[in-house]
Symmetry: C2
Subunit: 210 residues, 2 copies
C-alpha cells in the first residue's frame, strides 16, 4: 500500500466511524468517495486491493468495513501518545478530543519548566523531562507530539528516540529528519511554511499547477 | 517553479533570516542544503534557475539572497492573517510568534460565541462572526486559519470565501476542497490523520517506502 492509498483508507475509516455514530448501517462507495475526496471508482479499486467485497447493489455493511479496516490499520493496539512541550499549542493538543474517534489518546505531557509540570490543571498528568524515559516505558508509549520551542526541538527529538519512542509528530518550525541509524517515523507540521506557501500560491497562481 | 521547489525556497528563506539574526554575513550552498534537507547540488541548481549567482568560492551574501528571495516570494506585500474559531487551538495560534520572522501576523480573531469575543484578554481583537465580511475588507486580509469545530468547518470556509478571503489553512479534521468556481488556495492540516499515518507506518514499515 503506498502513502496515497494509506491516506484514503484512514479517511474512509474516519468517515465510517462517523456514519456509524449517526446510526447508519450501510454505506456505498460514492459516500466514502465524497468523504475522501476521490471518485467512487477509486474507492472500489482500493477495496478490491484490500479484498473487501460489498453486496450486489446493496453497498457495504459499515460494521464489517470498520472491523476489516481497523485490522488493516492495526487498530487493535493501544494508540497512546504523549505531548512534549506544554506551552499554548501543547496544552491545546492535550485538551483536543479530535483524535479519540480514531482511538488515539494523549496520556501524558512533559515539560522542562517546573511551573508548567507542577500546575495541576492539565487534563492529563504532566511530568518533568527528567522522567521521560521512565514514563515512556511505564506507559508503553510509541508516538510523541513535539510542541517545544524551535531551539529545543532537535534535542527533544533525540531524547524521545533514546527513550524508545518510534514515531514523532513535530510541530516546531524546524524540520526533523530521521537518523539513518534510527529509522523512526517523523512527520513535520510546519504552520509557518504552510502559510508561506499559501501566500506564494496566491501571488503566483501558476505555481499551483503541480 | 513547482511545489517542491517552492517548499525548498521558503526553507532557504527562513534559514537565511535566522543566520542573519545571529550575525552571519555569508552562507554556502551546503549550509542551506542542511537547513532544507537537500544536497548542496540541489541548492545550486535552484539558485541557478532563479538566476542567483554566488561569488567564486566565497559563498553568497546573506542580505542579497534575502532581498532576492523575498522578491521572488512576494514579501513586499502585507501578510496579515485572521484566525476563525478562537477555542484552544485558535487561541494558541493567536499567541504564536513563530510566523513573525516570515512577516506573517495574526491581526484578528473571529468567533461565534459572545463569551469568547467579549473576552478582552486576547492578544489581538476578536470579533463576532457577523462582522467577518466587514473586517476582512477593512483589514485587507487575504488568508485565514480555520480552527472551528468539525461541524462548523465547511460553513466557515464558505463564509470566508464570500467575504473575499483567497487562502485558507484548515485545522479542522474535515478536508476542505476548493470550489471549481472559486479557485481559492486551501491547505488542510489534519492532526489526527498525521498521527494515524505514523501509527500505520510503524506497524507496516514497508508502507514508508513511498
Amino acid at each position: 500500500m503506498n502513502s496515497d492509498m494509506l491516506i484514503r483508507i484512514t479517511r474512509y475509516f474516519r468517515a465510517l466511524n462517523r456514519l456509524r455514530a449517526i446510526g447508519l448501517e450501510k454505506v456505498f462507495a460514492h459516500n466514502l468517495a465524497d468523504a475522501a475526496g476521490v471518485s467512487a471508482a477509486v474507492v472500489r479499486k482500493d477495496f478490491s486491493i484490500l479484498e473487501i467485497h460489498g453486496q450486489k447493489r446493496g453497498g457495504y455493511e459499515i460494521t464489517e468495513l470498520i472491523d476489516r479496516i481497523s485490522k488493516i490499520l492495526g487498530k487493535g493496539d493501544p494508540q497512546n501518545i504523549i505531548v512534549v512541550g506544554c506551552g499554548r499549542i501543547g496544552k491545546a493538543l492535550m485538551h483536543y478530543t479530535g483524535f479519540e474517534p480514531d482511538g488515539i489518546r494523549v496520556v501524558a505531557g512533559f515539560d522542562s519548566d517546573p511551573i508548567v509540570y507542577s500546575d495541576a490543571s492539565h487534563p492529563v498528568p504532566v511530568y518533568p523531562m527528567s522522567r521521560l524515559e521512565e514514563m515512556v516505558e511505564a506507559l508503553g508509549v510509541k508516538v510523541a507530539i513535539i510542541t517545544v520551542p524551535e531551539a529545543a526541538a532537535a534535542d527533544t527529538a533525540e531524547k524521545l528516540l533514546e527513550a524508545g519512542v518510534k514515531g514523532i509528530l513535530n510541530f516546531s518550525p524546524i524540520t526533523l529528519k530521521p537518523h539513518p541509524e534510527n529509522p523512526a517515523v517523523i512527520h513535520n507540521i510546519n504552520i509557518a511554511l504552510e502559510l508561506e506557501q499559501i501566500f506564494y500560491q496566491l501571488q503566483f497562481p501558476e505555481s499551483r499547477m503541480k
